[in-house]
Each structure stands twice: as C-alpha cells, then as structure tokens.
C-alpha cells in the first residue's frame, strides 16, 4: 500500500509539469503581444514597455519558464500586476471560502445523490425511480447560475431563510458559516447530485442483478443491508471515478457560484484578475486549481484499493 501510494504520487509529477508548462504559456497562447494585451487599450507605449520588462518578455522562453518554475516550487507565484501584492498571499486569503463551498457541496451532494441513486435502482421502473431520473436530467441541464438565482430569489429574498449573499468565516461561528453557504452549495451541487445519482443508479442496477446479491438474500440479509453493504460497496469504484471526473466541473461551477453569491473566494479573485488581465494572478489560481484536481484524483486512485480488494497496488 505504501509503495503504491509513493508510486502514484511520483506519477503525478509529469502531469503537474505539463500543467505548469501550460499555465506558464497561457500568456503566450493568447493572440497578440502579451505586454500590449496586459497594458490594455489606453496604455502608452511606455506602459507597454514597462510591462514587457517586468514580465521579462525579452528573454528566451525556456529560461523564463525554468526560473518561474523554480520560484513556484518555493511557493513564490509572482506579484500581481494590479495590486503589487504577492499572488500566493492573495490566493491564501481567498482559500477558506472556496474550500468551504466545495467541501459543503461535496457533503451535500454525496449524502443526497447516493441514497437517491440506490433508491431509484431498488425501485426501478416505479414512480420513485422516475422522479429521481427527472430530477437528475433537470439538475444536469439547468446551469449553475440559473439555479443560484432561483434559490437566492426564493429562499433568501422571498422567504428570508438564508442571507442573499456574502460569506461568514468559520471562525465567526458555524451557524453563520453554514447559512451563508447553504444556498451556494445547493446551487453548485445540483448538477453534481444529478451526475452521481445517475451513475449510482446505473451501477447499482447492474450490481443488484449479480449472483452474490442473490446469495446475500438467501442468507437472510435484510433489504437495507443488501443495498448499502453488499451492493453499494461493489458499486463504489464507478461512483468514486465519476466524483473525481466531476470535480473539474465543480471547480468551474465554484467560480460562477462565487460570482452569483458574492463570495470572496478564489473564483471571484480569478474572475477579477481575468477582467484586469492580471496574468500572474490568473496563472497562480489556475495552477492552484489544477494542483487540487490532481490531488483529488490521486485520492480517488487510492480509494479504489480501499473499496475493491481485487485492484492490485
């Protein structure tokens, strides 16, 4: 197990290297002169020149990439063109709201989606199954911002159950934290719930027709244990896989959700940075999100072996 973990961690290094190269190249992939793009329409030629120098654009690409990479490895993501503050510092300040939102979304999504999928598979063909499937199709086809605005209008503006927008740090109390994040997490989670519920249902349908489920019933195992112990554990690998893949969409959705609910997180930071063409900040955030995604998928890989003993390290 330990050796496997080490191997998996090492295997992420080339992935991260490619990600880093891509993130660094962002500036150059965009068409036109990066310095002019950053400087914007109203910039004087002197401004453009100053930016060109500060970015070191006059030196060879590979040299600059290597230097940048070394600094990144030491935790130095550069300095924001707009605020002149260190990018790593700016991201750090915004991490808590974003991670809070994602964590709560995951918890809500899993605790709803998995029972829903299991129930739909068990009651296949009944109105319960159909209801779950209708919800799954809807949750998947309505965009996050629409769900967000509808939720905010109904439950915050009309019913006044939750704050309309904003964020309250965990340090100021769990209740405030939760009530601020509840609607955003539901909005962000609706597509995720739909995705996981569908894959859970499909996988469970297949598992429930297996011989070992019949064996469990023949032993006198009750319905709940048949579903949630004997069957669900066999359905775990596809479900975890889809969670890992869906995490990318969750990151993208978080950026939108933070804008809708005015949550001062990394998503808002990157949206602002894009509007200001603050490339070091954009690079830093993209790098951080990519890193998170790689880590999540590393965890997914390790979880496979926990749920399925046949998967060899």
């Amino acid at each position: 197990m330990f050796a496997y973990t080490v191997r998996r961690v090492i295997a992420t290094i080339p992935v991260m290297a490619v990600v880093a190269l891509f993130v660094f190249s962002l500036l150059y992939i965009a068409p036109g002169d990066p310095a002019a793009i950053i400087a914007g329409d109203q910039a004087t030629p002197e401004d453009v020149e100053r930016i060109r120098e500060s970015l070191g654009l006059d030196r060879p690409f590979l040299l600059r990439f290597t230097e940048w990479l070394f600094r990144v490895l030491q935790g130095d993501l550069g300095v924001s063109i707009f605020t002149n503050l260190p990018v790593s510092h700016m991201i750090q300040q915004r991490l808590e709201p974003t991670f809070s939102l994602m964590a709560l979304t995951l918890v809500i999504a899993l605790s709803f989606a998995i029972p829903m999928g299991v129930l739909a598979a068990w009651k296949q063909g009944t109105w319960i199954d159909r209801l779950v499937m209708v919800f799954a199709v809807m949750g998947f086809s309505v965009p996050v911002f629409v769900v967000g605005y509808v939720l905010a209008y109904t439950f915050a503006l009309q019913l006044d159950w939750f704050p309309v927008q904003g964020y309250s740090p965990l340090a100021n109390g769990f209740g405030g934290w939760l009530s601020n994040l509840m609607l955003p997490a539901i909005a962000l989670g609706s597509a995720f719930i739909a995705l996981i519920a569908r894959i859970t249902r499909a996988t469970m349908l297949e598992v429930l027709s297996q011989d070992y489920v019949r064996t469990a019933r023949a032993k006198g195992v009750g319905q709940r244990s048949v579903l949630f112990v004997h069957a669900l554990k066999n359905a775990a690998v596809p479900i975890i896989t889809i969670i890992g893949i869906g995490f990318a969409a969750l990151i993208g959705g978080a950026v939108v959700t933070e804008s809708v609910f005015a949550i001062p997180g990394v998503g808002r930071l990157v949206v602002d940075a894009i509007l200001r063409r603050d490339y070091p900040v954009i690079q830093g955030v993209v790098l951080m999100f990519s890193f998170t995604y790689v880590i999540v998928n590393l965890i997914v890989d390790l979880l496979y072996t926990v749920f399925d003993p046949r998967i060899r390290y």
């Binding site: 019933r217 004997h230 554990k233």
Partner: protein, 331 residues
Amino acid sequence: MPPLLEVQNLQTHFGTLDGVVRAVEGVSFHIDAGETVAVVGESGCGKSVTAMSIMRLIQTPPGKIAGKILFQGRDLLELTEPEMQAIRGKDISMVFQEPMTSLNPVLTVGRQIGETVMLHEGLSAKDAEQRAIEMLTLVGIPAPARRVREYPHQLSGGMRQRVMIAMALACSPQLLVADEPTTALDVTIQAQILELMRDLKTRVGAAIMLITHDLGVVAEMAQRVVVMYAGRKVEEGSVEDIFLHPLHPYTRGLMGAMPKLGSSLTTTGRTKLTEIEGQVPSLRKPIIGCAFAGRCPEVTDVCRRMAPAIEEKAPAHWVACHYAARAMAAA
C-alpha cells in the same frame, strides 16, 4: 410426523413482454427431516425456479407463486418478508451452481460466513469470525485462520464452493437446497465436494434438496428422486425405483446411457443426462395433453389429447403416464 418440507401444487409463473412463462406448473413433493431428495431433469425444466420459490427469492412481480410450501407446518408463502428473512440462512439455506460469482468480491470470506451467524444467532463480530474459522475447518479449507481474512478472488473454484457450503451450514439449517452444486467444477473437485456434502450431512443432519443434471450424483447421494419435465413432476420414487424400474418414458430416456441394473448404483463413473430427441415444449403456451408427447417414442393419440394425472403406481412410486401400467408389467 409431518414432513419437514411439503410442496403442494406449486405454480410459479413469470409475466413477460411476450406472454406468461409457466416455469413451474403444479409440482408437489415432500422432503423428510434428514433425507436427501434429488430433483433431476433437463435444463430449463423448472428445477431452479422451484428451489428459488421455496426460498421465496423469486421477484414478484414479474413472478407469481401459487400453491403451498409448508415448512415445519408453516406455509412459507403466507409469511411476511421479515419472517422469511429469519428463516433464510437459518432454517433453510442454499448453495448455488456458480461458485465463481456467488460470493461477494469485496467482502472477506470470514465476513460473509460470519454475517449469517451475526444475523441469526446474534453473535459479536469477533465470535462470528471464530465461527467462520470453525466452519472453514469443517469444510476442509487449509489455514482457515488466514483464509477468513482473504477475499473470494484469492480462492479457487472448488475452495469457493466449500466456502459457500460453510456459509450455508453455519447456522445448522434443517434443509439445504443445493442447486447443481458441482456442475461448474472439475470432475475431481466435484467428487471432493460431494464427499464433503455427504460427510457434513451425517454430522449436521440437514435434509438436502439436491438439484442435479448428473445421475451419478443422484445414485451416490439421494434416497429419493423427483423427475421434472417442462415445469411438471413426471415421476417420483426411491433411487432404486427410478434407476431400476423407471416408469416414465422421459425418465427412461434420461437413463438411456446408464449401465443397466444394480451396477449403476455402485459405479463411480458419472453420466450426464443423455440427449433426448426433439425440443422441450414452449412454457409460454398452455400445454394440451402430456407435456412429453412431442418427444415420446411411445406416444399415442390419447397422450396428445389428455394430460395424464400423476398416480401412485407402486408404493411411494408416482408417475404421470397413461402407459405406466404397461411399463410396470415389462419391468
């Protein structure tokens, strides 16, 4: 004393898109305590469905079960699902044909055996593992203390079937339903598993309903035989009756390749049911006349028009054939 299990006029039908499949059509038989009864017949004649009906593991709908299944005097078809759960695995347990797929791949062997005793005898997880080790020892698995922690994929097919048997016997059931327990195994392993079942039967004292294709297995294991065809019981009798004086042409067809007379009871060579000419009738349509008429070498007009009733032609020897008397005279 009433029999341990008494199946009365069992009918199990399945509603499908293209009509009702009459998988079991009016089958009656009984099993006494400690007795081994073999159920034989070609594939598709309703043996498994009969077994699954007794366990009440048929999904309803699409399935529909009618008749009576009296177990220790109680009709299993009248019980609620929780009452039935208390019986499954404790009083009646089952071993399936497919050892490779019948064990849960993500749970340890010990967990799967132990679960039964935790459920039915309220044992703690620790005691359950101890029982699992005892059961593995009983079914002759070496290094049981290590094996309980292993997963099914780490065991061979024969080992897995031993685990299935260990699981089935963990609560000392009154009745073991074994649905072709050796069909999927190599010949040498088959012999070992049968040996094991015979040995355990004398120790645990369970009655066995043994479903099999294999007449050699019947001769070695059973006291009585039920012959099924197209969802019906066509003949029933002691092993001697069935092997030495088969009264139904279908039974005689099955025996076709068997060496004649008493030698068949002692021979160890296994004989599969021989192929009988012709097709098994469709179970989707009601069958008029004798179900075997289409394939019977001795068929007459009467057979095609009228279904023969099942009658006791000799003591405890039942047969459903218009010409059973003639067969008896010839025997």
